[in-house]
Subunit: 415 residues, 2 copies
Amino acid sequence: MHDFIIQSVSTSDARFPLPPGAGSDSIHETAEYCFAVARLKTDGGLQGTGIVLTLGQGNQVVCKAIELLSERLVGTSIEDLMADFGRFSREMADHPSLRWLGPHKGVVHLALASITNACFDLWAKSRGVPLWKLLLDLSPEQLVRVLDLSYVEDVLDEKRAIDMLREKQASRASRERILQTGYPGYDTSVGWMDYSDDKVRELTKCALDQGFYAFKLKVGSAEESRDLRRAAMLRELAGNDKTIMFDANQHWNLPDALRMCRELSKFSPLWIEEPTHPDDLLAHVELSEAIAPVKIAAGEHISNRVLFKNFLKSSALSFIQVDCTRVAGISEFLTVSFMAKLFNRPVVPHVGDMGQMHQHLMFFNHIALDHEVAFLEHIPHLRKHFVHPAKVSAGVYSTPQDPGASTDLKVNAEA
Amino acid sequence: MHDFIIQSVSTSDARFPLPPGAGSDSIHETAEYCFAVARLKTDGGLQGTGIVLTLGQGNQVVCKAIELLSERLVGTSIEDLMADFGRFSREMADHPSLRWLGPHKGVVHLALASITNACFDLWAKSRGVPLWKLLLDLSPEQLVRVLDLSYVEDVLDEKRAIDMLREKQASRASRERILQTGYPGYDTSVGWMDYSDDKVRELTKCALDQGFYAFKLKVGSAEESRDLRRAAMLRELAGNDKTIMFDANQHWNLPDALRMCRELSKFSPLWIEEPTHPDDLLAHVELSEAIAPVKIAAGEHISNRVLFKNFLKSSALSFIQVDCTRVAGISEFLTVSFMAKLFNRPVVPHVGDMGQMHQHLMFFNHIALDHEVAFLEHIPHLRKHFVHPAKVSAGVYSTPQDPGASTDLKVNAEA
């Protein structure tokens, strides 16, 4: 295999206007999706591209943090870097002055995520394989070396992580069949907050026709009656054999969340997502107990493995929606996936990357860690901007075959 | 009283080199303290100055976020703004696109803190009174209007907060005596990590002579024997009648923290500060139980009221070190102080402002909320840069008398 030296790191502030109403929810007035892009250029002409999602203003702040954090990458060989990436990730996360701005959350952590994702993309490209295959082909020892397990050793240390991979190696072949069939998806784009009832109805019918079997509706309106009306409508449209989920995007305080989750439970959703503030661990515990067997999902705003460890240890969540564009990239996503497996919780990512990297990671999680097959969120609005957009048909993500992490953006897509 | 219209908001990236070794701890290589400054200029020539602390690189990222967040302030009257500041704070914290970068943590929250602190400084100056007097002179209803209680209503809503103030109003006079005697301080600057044993010895003796009765030592060295040697030394120097505290600055994972906190407990510290990662709520619960009667303190990296609510509800901390340069400024500091009182926990701030604003807030907390008199951290390194540096003598902060929040920096102090 050929090694490459990173010669420069650049960033770009890529912004994509959304169609009217798309991306809207109870909290964010989303008119555009933006990527704070980290790009690694090498001596061989090969480039690594990392992305994290933001919602507009502030994207340039993340780009600035990428510049500050990534200086030390220049001159490093990608193989040397990835042979001990866990240590490198920790050093970046514990940057002697930037750490103060988190630690391990907010703008500096998003910057680390983008850089990390660029490193993995470059590594997979340099080996000429898609990310899922790169990860599956590493030995257990090599794989665990890309993880920073600091502060979670009480539940997951290196030895335990290696043992987990080894225990599941013999049975891998049976799970590799999924590479032929693809990974199931679910459609978030039918139920944006600002879509009219008619539009939700029309899009849901269309997604049903395409073969999706799971649908998500945004809730947390100023008018609670609107939430309940639309929830009833979605259940009726989907029928009792399909799966529906509701997503409140942190809209409610605890008393309102308890009341509204009980109301919405009547429509038998699989989960209610982000019912309240993502920092409110105890509220999630209380809600999980109050609305069982309906389940609580969250993760798109849970910033790091230490927080996920706390959510897992306290049984606060049933679905772990970790996002490799929120935690410290692919590396910390994997750490959280290991911990979720230990606590027997499915990983169902939020796709700040529009599913581009997460499709790879779902194959890895199933095959290497024996995570049960769940489904992966699908948001189609940016697909035209990717060089290799995820291929989703009949409600299923097919296995990506191009080298890398599927993060390359078309040249004219970037600012 | 005269009202003023905010005519412009500007920021500056103010950096102050520290003397060798000062500010050093187990995690941060601190060579400079920096303030991301927000400055409000008004039609009357009066200015409000807000500050938050950072440790160097990244200060300009916070300044950029201040610019993005503060646009809407221009043209507002300070009295109108402060008459409903809680709503305003919530709207800024829930900015439709910048919220994504937190929420309520990291760079965007630091920016909100600096802006908020500038608003309170301007408000106090416009009324010609020091911050503590401004706050004490507000009616309970007016005071509670400066708070954003969203997401903490399950423990503190407006009615409860107003009741708390009313209940304590009759007994205020007895507590106002502290305005004559001043507020006790403790000295952090004797025990920085990189100071030699000899220097710690010399500084501790000097602080004892000055009248301080409480001293803090940084721990969390690479060599654990060094921590134990210096802890023993400080206890011997201080004698058994003085108070000592140890501060690990998040250095240990949970197993190491359990072991080291048990070892350090032998020297009878009042508290052990930041033993592990600030996001690890459950680790703090476990540590608090394991090392009682020695207590756990933390807060300088606990970003918001929702997190503090969780730490309080789960009895994870005995001392609440909330810092108005970490949470959303003076407003969220007050919210946390209300909650801490409800849970009967002392507020002992970390002083990212070098004690300048917190001296005012300690007088308010004692007089209005009946918080017991604790002590306030004292870090002297930047005092020459303030227009009105805190006056600390014989180990006591005297009551500030100049109008405002004591945040004005000398003109030549800023970049």
